[in-house]
Subunit: 460 residues, 2 copies
């Protein structure tokens, strides 16, 4: 802490106008979307360029002061919260979409750019940036890279890491490196973009991102398919994939998720009386092609076509997706405190994993709601605190998490699919990773950030 | 070298029957497919298990003896050649396809398994392992992981790294780690699979691989489209991608490539009189859907449908792809020594890059043949030695490579898209990578392999 004073003084000299020291404003940097986590930073620097970032890192590295990089603060594992003190390095002002290169099918963006804005800019050129985390309207692409964010479209299109073709980044010592660029294949040296993507801000601070774009599908339709229960829905997904059809999304929702969302948004949701739902986006060269694929899907899943709700208009499509993306918010309205896990299991294991888990939670008299990405095994498990006294909830939380993770691992999966370890799962990493692998992480960390100033307290 | 004797003695005790010391047999491990490169190893160990691999590494690490991991020896940059001496660690006997897990859409394989065998095994379950390097009938999946191999289908499906969901590997110190598994999304710790894929055997030795499979497209057709010249072909690719259609492959070939292949295979190739060709694979739910897409492609590319050669039968399809995959062999038949580069440039830059390069090579009176992956900017540049005296060829080679790389980088690309750096491009890495990035590679290498025993002389 004593080192902070000279660091702040130096930063004020070098980067006038970029520092936030006003306690009221600092307060807005104390949290991300992680439930029940808060740490007030001593100082925030709002960088405007890679050079700003490098300057901050160089000084902090010299004095051994912790730096927590921060995008839009929409993460849910505390990645952007300065739990070890020190400085928050905000990328919010580096938010430009520098280029949509239609000729080369590449977007070049700053880390603070909002994911949905990049998608909209690409769409104006009939190009698609596929990754679509639920927070896409508010999250920043730098955070997506830091967490290797996924989203519903991952089943067909993959996750953030599959689209990063190049990164400009600053190391802890202030050196700026560009690895990769506007080319989509690369066997030149180590895959630095690969290791940085998903490293949760612990290895480097990304200052520019090159993203591969794909041709936008000319047409798509969104459909909601009702099922008796989750088991039936998951069986349908398996039949669907084995029929050779890959929709852009295969999301599942328990009935409660739909009910809560309908209440929260104050609007009816279709098929509200089904035990579980699948939300599919079907793409095609024409509307007719989409509908033909939908017929094939209904046949593969052995579901009556007229039980399927087809969103016919943009407004209906928006209502479906707004519903899906509002689940977290709706859950929060139902019970402000809840445990939110995003385990991943092999795709065929979802039903067995969740059925067992539901049963276990019922024995504890805990209400839970499950939804997520049926197409890729990534499930969102939400357990309500409800009216449990805070003390009792806190006391049981660690065992509860441990049991959820144990079951995911037992089913051949792991503890987080897209939200990351951050600080909230750090103590559980050893359940999923061997001591040898964690020791390797430490040596990799050392290779990038020998003084350990970058986002300390995260991952391990 | 003096350390080799005790190491070989120890290995003979611990791994009886696994060692090759017979000079005649050793000779078969002295080369891969790299032109004009040979280094006889002192000893080859044919591992049968991860434990064998770990034992070899542990002993070699203790004595500081170099280990060159080797798959099927089909690489083209010397990755499997023991240029720094020491031991070759052959994975050829660890070639089992352990499981095609239809339920979870995952293949579990040993590194010595042949890529085409994995594809065939998956297809029996109507599943597809997409990456398809030209050598797929003979190359091993471990080598594909080491080089992050691509292939024609990369334009739609991506490269090897996009399919690796888990790796079991041995570090230089003999510890065995499994990172990842049968799940397709993962935000648990650093992306170790990402950094190992494409690391050319310099960081660890992979002993088991988990691969994501996708539903096999129910139908596909292969077509050859003739164009006046390469410029016209590349313009068609751009128009095609912007129309929203992504074929599984978009390969281009210069006329000479087709001519040489026809001569080499002793069979006619279709559209032999065109200046350049595109070889497309179009996938669809039915044959009719494929043909409808083909109509849309013809319209987007403004090409007469009846000038397109459509492979109607499996034999015709095989003839087209056999032709494409035999180009390298055919070139070798034309001129046993030739320079083979696989630069990558932004997709829109291919035509300009190759036109300029062709012109430059003509001023040197050198014959060249270009082909490759028009859909992703990865071009295979082949320059014949022809009857040039060996000395003169050798003397000009370095400048020639430097000029090709310089031009690729000038066009916003890099020096290798899928073949890797190996030993043959090591001296040119600094053209593409900053000193800061190469220094970072060295620190990463140190984190995995502190004594530097793994595949020395490769990459940097």
């Amino acid at each position: 802490m004593s080192q902070l004073v000279p660091v702040i003084e130096k930063l004020q000299q070098i980067l006038p106008g970029r520092l936030v020291l006003d306690p009221e404003v600092l307060e807005t940097y104390a949290r991300d979307e992680t439930i029940d986590l808060c740490a007030l930073p001593a100082c925030v620097v709002r960088a405007r360029s890679a050079q700003d970032v490098a300057a901050v890192l160089k000084i902090c590295n010299e004095y051994g002061v912790a730096v927590t990089p921060r995008g839009a603060g929409t993460g849910v594992t505390g990645g952007a919260v300065a739990v070890a003190g020190g400085i928050v390095l905000s990328m919010e002002q580096m938010n430009r979409i520098l280029e949509i290169d239609e000729h080369n099918l590449i977007a070049v963006v700053e880390p603070g750019a909002i994911t949905a804005d990049i998608q909209k800019a690409a769409l104006r050129h009939r190009l698609l940036y596929p990754p679509d985390p639920a927070s896409l309207d508010t999250c920043s692409i730098g955070g997506n890279v830091a967490e290797n964010a996924g989203g519903p479209r991952a089943v067909k299109y993959g996750i953030t890491g599959h689209y990063v073709t190049g990164l400009e980044f600053a190391l802890a010592d202030g050196s700026i490196i560009t690895s990769g660029g506007k080319y989509v294949k690369n066997a030149t040296g180590y895959n630095i973009c690969g290791i940085l993507t998903g490293s949760e801000g612990t290895l480097a601070v990304v200052t520019k991102i090159y993203l591969r774009l794909v041709p936008a599908p000319p047409n798509s339709i969104d459909v909601l398919m009702p099922f008796v229960d989750l088991g039936a829905a998951v069986a349908a997904v398996s039949a669907l994939l084995h029929s050779g059809i890959v929709p852009a999304t295969i999301e599942f929702m328990e009935q409660d998720a739909i009910t809560f969302v309908a209440a929260h948004l104050g609007q009816d949701m279709p098929c509200a009386d089904a035990g579980a739902h699948l939300l599919l986006q079907v793409e095609g060269a024409s509307q007719q092609a989409c509908h033909e694929t939908l017929e094939a899907i209904a046949a593969a899943c052995a579901i009556e076509e007229d039980s399927i709700f087809v969103a016919q208009t943009a407004a209906q499509q928006e209502r479906l997706w707004k519903g899906r993306r509002s689940i977290r918010e709706a859950l929060r309205a139902e019970s402000p405190i809840f445990l939110a896990e995003d385990c991943v299991v092999p795709r065929g294991e979802i039903a067995a994993f969740l059925a067992g888990l539901k049963e276990y939670l019922q024995t504890l008299a805990l209400r839970s709601v499950m939804f997520g990405h049926a197409g890729d095994g990534n499930v969102h498990i939400n357990v309500f605190k409800d009216s449990l006294p805070a003390e009792q909830w806190q006391a049981m939380l660690s065992d509860l998490k441990r049991e959820i993770y144990r079951r995911a691992i037992e089913h051949g999966g792991t503890i987080t699919g897209e939200h990351g370890i951050g600080c909230i799962r750090r103590d559980y990493l050893a359940m999923a990773k061997s001591p040898e692998e964690i020791a390797l992480y430490r040596r990799i960390k050392q290779a990038f950030d020998p003084r350990g100033i970058l986002n300390p307290g995260k991952i391990f």
